[in-house]
Every structure is written in C-alpha cells, then in structure tokens.
C-alpha cells in the first residue's frame, strides 16, 4: 500500500523527470527499509520543486514567407503547471482550515451546511455522523404535550374566521394580523352583502334540522366564540361593515396580557361558558314547551321542569316571572364558579389543617 502511494507520488513528477528517474527512485525506495515518512516527504517536496521551477519552452516562432521579421511569444498562453499547483494547494489548505474550524471550533459556523443545531431542526446524532454506513439515524425531538396547543390547533382548524385571521397559521394572531383583520374579514364576505353572517364565519348546520334549533345554534356560535363575540359588538348575530372596519380595536380587547398579540389561551372559548350554554339549551329544550326562548311561570310548574326548577327560579334575577335562556346560562356559570371556589377552599383547608387519621 505504501509502495503504491510512493509510486503515485513519483507519477506526479513532470513526464521528463519521470521517464528518466522514476525507476531509480523506486529502486532506492525498495532498498531503504524504514524512514518511510522521510522518503514520502522528500518525494512530495521534489514534486513541488519540479513543478514550481520547471521552465516551459517558448512557443515556436511563426515562419514568415515574405522575409518580414519573425515574432515569437515568450509567455505561454495556457496555464502553467506551477500556477495550477499553487492554486490547488491554496484551495486544499482553505478547505482543511474550514473543516477544522467547523468541527473543532467552540462555535459552529452558521454558513456551513449541517452545522446549525438550533431548536426546531432535526438533529442528526454524532453517532450517525461518524458511522460508515448509509443507515443515518435521525432523532425527532420529542414534542411536549401541550393540551392548550392541541385544543387551539383543533379550534383554529374548525373555525373559518380564525383561519382567515391567522394568515401564517401559527395559532397566534400577531399584531400585524390584528392590524390587517378588516381586509381578512372582507375576504370572507362571499355573498358581497357588506356583512358577515354566522355561516360566512364558519357556522354550519345539518339540513333538515328544526329552524329554532338552527337559530339557537347560530346565536350560540356567535356568543361562545370570543373572537366572534367581540367582533359582533351589537350582538345581532352578524358582523356588519362597520364592525369589520373596527375589527382591530375589537380584537385588541381580548389581549388580556397586553403583549400586542392574541395567543391561543386568549382566543379559545371559555369552557365554563360553553358548558353553560349547552346545558341551558338542554334545559330549555326540556322545559320551554312553547319555544319562545323563555320559561314562563306555568312552564316552571310542569313536571318536566321539576328537575331544573330550583335553577330556573334562581336564574330569574329580574323577578319578572320569565326565565330567559341568557338568565339560565348566567345562573349556570355562576354556580360553576361557586363550585370551583368551594373546591379550591376545601383544598386549601385540607392542606393546612391537621392530617386526618385513616379510620379502620
């Protein structure tokens, strides 16, 4: 193997030198045992010296037929071997320097391919870098479980209006997206009537459903989704042209932490509100027999209302004898809030009080 390398080095000499001395150099190499490194260094130095000091003969002169003076060029037009060798040596040295800096430097060079190891990128392990085979192992970073993000992804995906507002799809309404909200909303106006209906915002209802239920679903859709609720400032169930124009300040009213953007937690509907709305719908469906969206005193007394009577009576805050759906929803939310406070208080007392001994 070493002998082949030495032969290769000899072959790098200029042809004339090679023809004359190659066999002798190889003979000396075979005769000398040991000091191989010195022999290789000497041969490499000889290659360099031969190419750098080699003088090219001048181009042959052009013959003149009419007796005019003949000219010849001294400098060759083609690239000299020495020049190419110098360029090659400088290139190899620079590449070696870059490779060394890229692998041994304390900071990875950002412009080198594969040197960036920032978060969010696939990380190729060092084991796979050094492996000789082609079975490169790519380790996917473990995605942390984020229930809010999962819910936000599903929510943004299901709500047409949010998809239109979140132009870059990062589940956050940036300040720029909030600023450009009016134009994004106008694109949703498919029937060009200058306002957005619940359907244009993403509400869908199965065909054949009772119109009363559809209307209630539409109202629920516009009130339970925070973004729609603030955009529909007059709560008439549609986003008018004026409301579209004032979309930016309306959306900013949801920015609880005043960071200039709306994160998922600020956009997601309040689970307690959703629960209360659905629960009140179920109560009215059971009790409101005449379908006027209010529970009258007569309906309160019906056997179907027995189960909810206490809630219905308590919900009638204005004591007018009619409990509306809104009042039921508010009452249910209030009760859920009280329940949470009570649970929190019990938890605090349980932690600070004396430890209960288990009874046998």
């Amino acid at each position: 193997m070493l002998r082949r390398c030495y032969i290769w080095l000899i072959c790098q000499h200029p042809p004339e030198f090679r023809r004359r001395f190659a066999a002798e150099m190889l003979g000396i190499y075979d005769q000398m045992h040991g000091r191989r490194g010195w022999l290789f260094f000497d041969a490499a130095r000889s290659v360099l010296r031969q190419h750098l000091t080699q003088q090219r003969p001048p181009e042959p002169a052009l013959a003149s037929a009419d007796g005019a003076p003949r000219f010849q060029t001294i400098a060759p037009y083609s690239l000299a071997w020495s020049t190419m060798m110098e360029g090659g040596i400088i290139t190899v040295a620079l590449l070696c320097l870059l490779a060394y800096a890229g692998t041994h430097g304390s900071r990875r060079l950002p412009f080198l391919i594969g040197s960036y190891h920032g978060p969010g990128f696939l990380h190729v392990t060092d084991v796979s870098n050094t492996a000789s085979g082609l079975d490169t192992r790519v380790v996917m970073p473990e995605e942390k479980a984020d229930p809010i993000r999962d819910a936000a992804r599903a929510y943004f995906g299901s709500l047409l209006l949010l998809r239109a507002l979140d132009a870059d799809g990062n589940l956050v309404l940036s300040s720029w997206e909030i600023l450009t909200a009016p134009s994004a909303l106008r694109k949703l106006d498919t029937n060009r009537d200058g306002q957005l209906s619940a359907e244009e915002c993403g509400f869908t209802a199965s065909t054949g459903l009772d119109q009363r239920l559809v209307a209630y679903g539409r109202e629920t859709f516009m009130t339970t989704n925070p973004v729609l609720r603030v955009l529909d400032a007059d709560h008439d169930g549609t986003i008018s042209g004026t409301e579209m124009l004032t979309a930016t300040p309306s959306l900013r009213s949801l920015d609880r932490n005043v960071d200039g953007k709306l994160s998922a937690s600020e956009v997601l509907p309040d689970p307690d509100l959703v629960w209360a709305v659905l629960e009140s719908a179920a109560i009215l469906e059971a009790v409101d027999t005449d379908g006027d969206a209010g529970i009258t005193a007569t309906e309160r007394l019906s056997p179907r209302a027995a189960r909810y009577r206490e809630i219905i009576v308590a919900a009638d805050r204005d004591h007018n004898g009619i409990t509306t759906r809104t009042e039921v929803t508010a009452e249910l939310r209030l009760r859920r809030e009280r329940q949470r406070q009570q649970e929190a208080a019990e938890q605090v007392l349980g932690n600070s009080g004396p430890t209960k001994q288990p009874s046998f």
Binding site: F17, R20, F21, A23, E24, M25, L26, G27, I28, Y29, Q31, W38, L39, F41, D42, A43, A44, R45, S46, V47, R49, Q50
Partner: protein
C-alpha cells in the same frame, strides 16, 4: 565559451554530489550513501532531492551517464560519472571555498581593534 565560474557558487547538494562522483562512478543509492559519509551522517539526501539535483547537473553537462559495471544485477540502476566540465567546476568551487576559508582564518587570527 562556458566558464566553470559561471556555475558558481554550487548549492550544497550539487557540491556533495560532484564530490561523491569525483571519487568513483556511482548509482543513485551509492551517491546518497557517499554524501551521508562525507557529512559525517549529518546530511542525508533523499531520492527526490538527489535526482532533482542530478537532473540539473546532467542538463548543465557537469555529470553524464556511465556504463554499468559488469555483474550489476539491478537493471533499474544507472551509473553516473563526472564530466570534464564538472571536474573543472568542482575544482573551481573548492578553490573558492579554500579562499573563503583562508580569509576566514586570517580574519579570526587578527586581533580585534578595541574602540577608544
């Protein structure tokens, strides 16, 4: 007409090679060994350096190829001998070195003048 002085001063490698060939006709490996002995094993030529220098001496006409002696087994070996011009150049170089040496000795023997 080329004068021996035109080749002076000789490089250390050329001087050693010419000195080695002045003793006898030699092949490359023998020249390397001779140079090593001449310098008290302080200077060793490699094949690349040797043939680089030999090529130049051959083209200058200071060295020429010689017939291989009878019984030489290795057909790859070529023998070299000092050309007449090479011998004259070597003599001129040695004379030059002797003059330098004499000058150096004379300057060393002279006592230094002390500054007032």
């Amino acid at each position: 007409m080329v004068s021996p002085n035109d080749f002076l001063p000789l490089s250390p490698v050329s001087l050693h090679v010419l000195l080695a060939l002045a003793m006898n006709d030699m092949h490359g490996y023998a020249i390397m060994q001779a140079v090593r002995l001449q310098s008290g094993e302080r200077y060793q030529l490699g094949p690349g350096t040797l043939y680089d220098s030999l090529g130049r001496l051959l083209s200058q006409g200071l060295v020429k190829e010689a017939e291989a002696p009878d019984g030489e087994a290795d057909s790859r070996r070529r023998y070299y001998q000092l050309a007449p011009m090479g011998r004259r150049v070597l003599d001129a170089e040695l004379s030059r070195l002797e003059e330098i040496l004499a000058l150096a000795k004379a300057s060393r023997a002279r006592p230094r003048e002390r500054r007032a």
